[in-house]
């Protein structure tokens, strides 16, 4: 059994968000510097940005009020049972 506090996963998520923001910024810079803004590029950028913002909003909405100090168990039966496969 392995116990991990929930906030560890939150920090991992924030680390991913940092990578996401970095690469999104690089993408946008490419678009503005070289691609030129056309109707197609605007529509695609708008759709992707809308989905990303909506995802972030829903994540916040579903996770508000979470007690991040609580501990969850990963692989709860790992190593505690001699008969894990029911044989």
């Amino acid at each position: 059994m392995m116990s991990i506090p929930l906030f560890v996963f939150l920090f991992l998520y924030f680390a991913f968000l940092f990578v996401f923001v970095f690469f999104s910024t690089v993408n946008l810079l490419h678009m503005f510097q070289t691609g030129g803004i056309t109707l197609l590029s605007f529509i695609v950028t708008f759709i992707v940005a809308t989905i990303a913002i909506y995802t972030l909003f829903l994540t916040w909405y579903f996770l508000q009020g979470t007690e991040w100090q609580q501990v969850i168990e990963i692989l709860p039966n790992w190593g505690t049972s001699n008969n894990q496969f029911g044989i």
Partner: protein, 179 residues
């Protein structure tokens, strides 16, 4: 447009064509994106049918939410990166030269340039069901320059562009011969 700055346009140069890959070649990725967006919704619907009240008050609820959020954000990032790669492949034809800008991933870009009078031969290829239906294909340009061959993929109306490039190359050759 800003990419004109990339090619350092000369004072006498006129831009005749700016061509990107045919939009239809992006459609499969767009469909895949929509399909992958729907996957968690469909999976959740099925699980909810089999186990009503699934994940309610479950200690793993927060983990699932974080994972699904991560999945959607990754999807957005990959899709947009692919779009940038697709959209920034540009062929620019001027009255003096041909510039092929190829974006390879996020951190690599190749710009090939061929003077029109150095063009020796051009082949246009339209192969396959969808290319024939939507009229797109490849343009293979043989040159006498340091870049012996330039291949431009999936451009619209390659046959018409080939003919126009041949005419432009002939006019440029005549200009260089006379001056």
């Amino acid at each position: 447009m800003d990419f004109i700055r990339l090619i350092h346009k000369k004072s006498f140069e006129r831009i005749l064509h700016i061509t990107r890959r045919h939009y239809i070649t992006f459609v499969p990725i767009a469909f895949l994106f929509i399909l992958l967006i729907l996957v968690p919704v469909i999976v959740y619907w099925f699980i909810n049918q089999l186990y009503p009240g699934f994940l309610i008050n479950d200690p793993y609820y927060q983990l699932v939410v974080l994972f699904v959020s991560l999945y959607y954000l990754s999807l957005c990032l990959f899709f947009y990166s692919y779009f940038i790669d697709f959209y920034l492949d540009i062929l620019i034809v001027t009255n003096d030269r041909l510039v092929d800008i190829e974006q390879r991933g996020l951190f690599a870009r190749t710009i090939s340039e061929v003077e029109l009078f150095q063009i020796q031969d051009i082949t246009s290829e339209v192969e396959g069901f969808f290319p024939s239906l939507f009229g797109y294909g490849d343009l293979i340009i043989q040159t006498a320059s340091a870049i012996p061959k330039v291949i431009v993929h999936d451009i619209p109306n390659p046959h018409a562009l080939r003919q126009e490039l041949l005419d432009l190359a002939a006019a440029d050759k005549k200009f260089h011969r006379d001056n």
